[in-house]
Symmetry: C2
Subunit: 382 residues, 2 copies
């Protein structure tokens, strides 16, 4: 499955010694016949070296290989860090017989430390020697950081597939979540179609995962097409497959978020516009007090209203309504059904906020705030 579910792709995951133990370097290669690609990157203005590099590579609309490493983000590492990324692409190009301008690079781990260049470059060679059409799982394992499970997904079309892998467990916030994602397809699709499908998909999936409001310097989502299936699906059908794989992987990120004990589905309905709905949903999803209350299984709807009240969305305070797991605990901006009717024992919690101002709606996913989250992000550098 993973990135080798689609025909025309090989992959490998190796232990290059970048981390103290375990797999830490992945290589994904498009064997063709086509090598179309699209990419979406973090909107953080402080971008890691591999993001700066890969953004340039993607401008050509063609990517033949992707090198990904865990164990270090190579962000805020200055010109030397950029040289490390460049050398990585050059090494991959050398061993695979490509041009470095066809090689994308992605990194994840601690910001502000150099990568061990020799180990990294040697690992690229090792990975190239281990490439197989079944290497997708090991590649998915090699990009894990604080993830507790590796994440893969696949959707079948008629005679073609879209598959992919993702990593991400913290610093999950829009534009995008902190994550590396590689999607592959054997459909015979050109770069502009890939680009439209990928942007449309990320906008409503990865961009609506907001675990902790923190935006990464390294987020990268790539979609590579080999054309090996020899089938060109309808654009809408293809776009829906890409969306479905992205939605699957995005939800896997939420379910594995650092320290989380609840997955919170924030639905904002009755908004005047989608932008209004999204602003309100993000404000709710980022409210630390509410996230603590959900952790405590406390249907504290006042914190939902307080979060909505900080936005510029169109609403009247006395028309707001809030349901928690289907119980409308707030109606007309005031006390609604008995809060003791709300059952919050299960991992998934749905918070529905009705702005009473129109027909637009969105869903944003977040997590609760827990002592374990604090521990994971204070006990050591990550």
């Amino acid at each position: 499955m993973s990135v080798t579910a689609a025909q025309g792709f090989t992959a490998a995951g190796v232990a290059a010694g970048i981390k103290d133990s375990g797999l830490d370097l992945a290589l994904v290669v498009n064997q063709g016949p086509r090598s179309a690609a699209a990419g979406v990157f973090t909107s953080n203005r402080v971008k890691a070296a591999p993001v700066l590099w890969s953004e340039q590579v993607l401008k050509g609309g063609s990517v033949t290989a992707v090198v990904l490493n865990s164990g270090g983000a190579n962000a805020c590492t200055g010109p030397l860090g950029f040289q490390d990324t460049h050398a990585t692409a050059e090494r991959a190009a050398d061993v695979l017989g490509l041009n470095a301008a066809e090689v994308a690079v992605a990194s994840t781990g601690l910001i502000g430390t150099r990568l061990p260049t020799e180990k990294l470059l040697a690992g690229v060679g090792t990975a190239a020697a281990e490439l197989t059409a079944h290497g997708g799982e090991r590649a998915a394992l090699a990009i894990m950081t604080t993830d507790t499970v590796h994440k893969t997904a696949v959707v079948e079309g008629e005679g073609w597939r879209v598959g992919g892998m993702a990593k991400g467990a913290g610093m999950l916030a829009p534009g995008l979540a902190t994550m590396l994602v590689v999607l592959t397809t054997d459909a015979d699709v050109e770069a502009p179609v890939l680009d439209r499908a990928l942007r449309a998909a990320t906008r409503t999936t990865f961009d609506r995962v907001d675990s902790d409001g923190c935006m990464s310097t390294n987020d990268t989502v790539l979609l590579l097409a080999s054309g090996a299936a020899g089938v060109t699906p309808q654009e809408a059908e293809f776009a829906e497959a890409v969306r479905a794989v992205c939605a699957d992987l995005a939800l896997q990120l939420v379910k594995d978020a650092e320290g989380a004990s609840k997955d919170i589905r924030v639905e904002v309905v009755g908004a005047a516009t989608e932008d209004d709905a999204l602003e309100a949903a993000r404000s709710i999803a980022r409210n630390n007090l509410l996230k603590c209350a959900v952790h405590g299984e406390d249907p504290n709807w006042g914190r939902v209203l307080a979060a909505i009240g900080t936005t510029s969305a169109a609403f009247e305070p006395d028309r707001l309504a809030v349901a928690i797991n289907g119980v409308w605990v707030c109606r007309d901006g005031s006390i609604g059904e008995d809060r003791s009717l709300v059952d919050m024992r299960y991992r998934e919690v749905t918070i529905t906020a009705d702005l009473g101002a129109g027909d637009a709606s969105v869903v944003v996913w977040t997590n609760d705030l827990t002592a374990d989250y604090v521990h994971e992000n204070s006990a050591y550098s990550s």
Copy 2:
């Protein structure tokens, strides 16, 4: 001290039974000869009933009495909640021989529950009977919620004083922090001067305390002038005294924030404009991952850069610099001095970010994110 440090004010704090135990209702009365007043309220669009009421009262520029309660915010309680606030002002007016339009009301506690009206109104009568010129301390005690200490401050002018009390320990974020504050002065100052002094003071004090990024529905800051000292200070001198009392109280809020183990002074310097500096400082102050790192005494400057990168402030990534407790761990957007030189053992931690884009600067205070914060905000409704 507190609100009775200035001449011409009496106060009381009583146990009205709104909370299960302890003082929960405060009354502050301006005995004159003047009764000028100014007020600043939450900018949350979901406003508690007492905020809606007191905003109207303040429009007249005159307040003679303030009733404050803990044990319930009276927010999101609909028309019945507003009637409770109105009845409170009416009762205070009755027992004090005033008009209800001269009585401000402030409430704090859980959002979305009705106050026990009978107990509240009886408490107003009890408090009126206990008013003294030494009641400021008990009034300050009666407005505490999750505060562990009561907060008071006083500044002396030549023949006049500005004093005050504050409560607030969570939901501390700009516009304003979650808090109730009453400031009093015996200077002979008219309402427009009070208003200018109060707005200028809150903008750089309470508005720059951002403990947890959550904005309250109930924030209220009132400044009452009795004129009892018979002295009219220079406006600049008076404004500075008001600012100094606000700064003192604001820092007391930070130091008592729920579950915090560190007070973090976020200084942004070298910004193109004050707005840019403030946007960057708030983004840093609200970054959960950074707040966890500070809790762990980890000088994780990458999270500072990642936070700055999400803003629209003018900067070039390769010109950013960050110091933690004076050690410039990041220079030119990359690795600077050895991070092991940073000593973060003490409660106060200073993070300095230089945007390298101009001369503007601001200071915002926040706290670390701790397991205790999660516990305080998940173990019970607040």
